[in-house]
């Protein structure tokens, strides 16, 4: 760990920023591939002590975590359910059918109907598409914005950094839901706008994380070498700094997806989600809440299950990715 090779990040960059020794100890019980903190052997340019690639050991650590595999399985299931499901289970999700509203599960409606007669199972598929698209897109957009912002602030340093990061601090001081509700009340929400609104809150944390890493990366010899060779600031940031923060970015983006799905549910519950006939799991759940005392369980628990399961799944995957990237950092 004392050596730092060009293009490599050691753990001191603080990617996980967590108790990494702890992670090693816990991992050792499950996977035998982690050496007990022995330094990398630098002989003849060979970085790794075994022939195994970093990528492969990351995959192994990830798959040895059973919760991560479960999480990945749940995510794949929901993607199939939402996009392949409607091919086999045709329902009308555009026209309401008030004559068959609030029916219990039957052969024609496997999970019953809601208060305007939409088939609940079909609506779970259609709404799931919105929830997952908004979740992933908002996380991607927010993370991209945050990464660029944080890398620029960290790279420039000085006053620019101070101003840019104090803005992040100020926005973070406003609790996310207050900011989101305000934004959602100003505009008339649609799916693309919803993605922008959620991304507007989601970019703050990655900006902070990436900025902190950039501060250490900036002082590395290889970054200074790029500068000396005449590399522009843009090139240094895009080609040399951001790629080295990828671990932090990927892990954080995974958690952001989980958060975005929850946020969409909150906004829908608070009445400022995407207007009908578009739907999402959160909107279905909040619609079902009105019928809790009527005993229409099929309006509440299926949607609630979908939200909790998908959020848990993304959190599991994020946790495992963090462990996997810590392996990468340790092996370098």
């Amino acid at each position: 760990m004392r050596f730092s090779t060009p293009g490599c990040a050691t753990h001191e960059t603080g990617a996980g920023s967590g108790p990494w020794e702890l992670a090693v100890i816990e991992q050792q019980a499950q996977s035998p591939l982690l050496p007990g903190g022995s330094p990398a052997d630098f002989s003849g340019g060979e970085v790794f002590e075994s022939g195994r690639s970093t990528w492969r050991s990351m995959v192994e650590v990830f798959t040895s975590n059973r919760l991560a595999v479960l999480g990945l399985g749940i995510i794949v299931f929901f993607i199939l359910f939402c996009w392949v499901g409607p091919i086999f289970y045709h329902t009308n999700q555009v026209q309401t059918d008030l004559f068959s509203a609030n029916q219990g599960p039957s052969l024609s409606h496997l999970l019953g109907t809601d208060n305007v007669g939409y088939d609940t199972l079909g609506r779970l598929m259609a709404g799931g598409q919105t929830s997952l698209i908004v979740g992933v897109a908002a996380a991607l957009l927010g993370t991209t914005m945050g990464v660029v912002w944080g890398a620029i602030a960290g790279y420039l340093g000085g006053i620019a950094d101070a101003v840019m990061m104090r803005l992040v601090d100020a926005l973070l001081a406003i609790p996310a839901l207050f900011l989101l509700l305000f934004l959602a009340s100003v505009v008339t929400p649609s799916v693309p706008l919803m993605i922008f609104i959620i991304a507007f809150v989601a970019w703050l944390v990655p900006a902070r994380l990436v900025r902190a890493e950039t501060l250490t990366l900036r002082e590395r010899e290889y970054v200074q070498a790029v500068r000396m060779m005449g590399g522009t600031g843009v090139r240094t940031v895009l080609r040399h700094i951001i790629p080295n923060t990828v671990g932090t970015i990927v892990v954080n983006a995974t958690f952001q997806v989980a958060d975005a799905i929850l946020i969409l549910a909150y906004l829908s519950y608070l009445g400022l989600g995407v207007p009908p006939p578009a739907s999402n799991w959160g909107e279905m759940l909040s619609g079902g809440v009105n019928y809790v005392f009527a005993g229409y369980w099929w309006l509440i628990w299926p949607a609630g299950f979908c939200i909790v399961a998908s959020v848990v799944a993304f959190n599991f995957v994020g946790d495992a990715l963090r462990d996997a990237f810590e392996v990468r950092l340790q092996r370098r």
């Binding site: 104090r166 939200i307 599991f316």
Partner: protein, 313 residues
Amino acid sequence: MTRYLIGRVLQALVVLFGVSVVVFGMLHILPGGPARAVLGPKATLVAIHTFEREYGLLKPLPVQYFDWLGQVFRGNLGFSYKLNQSVDTLLAANLPRTVALVGTAAVLAIMIALPLGVYQAVRRNKLDDYALTGASFLFYSMPTFLLGLILILLFTTVLGWFPANGPTGEVPLWDQLANMVLPIATLCLVTIALFSRYMRSATLENLVQDYVRTAQSKGVSPRRVLFVHVLRNALLPIVTLIGLSLPGILSGALVTESLFNYPGIGYLFWQAAQTDDFPVEIGVTLVVAVGVVLGSLLADILYAVLDPRVRYS
């Protein structure tokens, strides 16, 4: 210590300035500007112009900002045209109730989560640790309103112990403690899930430190190692964590208050967001953000008092 304190307070002041700029900016991203927001979509251009001249909205933005800031410092947070009351009055009535809710839930959560986290760390990778970790994952991943709903179903519909509606604003809170139970429990459970996970890893992190081995080889009893040596070190980062999680708890309070119709500032804000009552939205946002900044400042100062390493570095 003094230098650290001064630096930290200055930083908080800068962030407060940033907060005020952001909140002031919120006034001006309203569609059609503040005048349109107050007078409504049917107002004539003449009415809009008169309103803007009356309230100084035609001046340059920096001038407007300092005018606005001056009003805020004099304790004037605006006027709700929808509720026909000043935002100050609304806040004075609702803020204490939110403080009661958030404060009680946070204190209870700390009292439960910290021992729970230590217990999980000691029993790590055993069945009960897995069960508790699973439970905290579940609570953490569940929308707060769903959790509240489950509590209502369990304690109101099935057991009939507590009423499903929160307290009303008409009577003092201590006369309706039964109505407070479910809102506090909802917010508390979410917070426990968050804190116990951190406490577990903070304890685990310290259990592998050299000083633990030293203490053990000196012959210190395991109980003493855990509760005196490890616990004191593990508690330190929790102080920061509590400061950092204040925004999250307040977001949770907003949802909890809207589920139980609890008359706090979260509920007030929610109502305002639905009726486009922008002065209330902006006033509440400002107060909440200032609270968060002061809360994290307090946590950092407390941390410096508790941990001498911060003071001398």
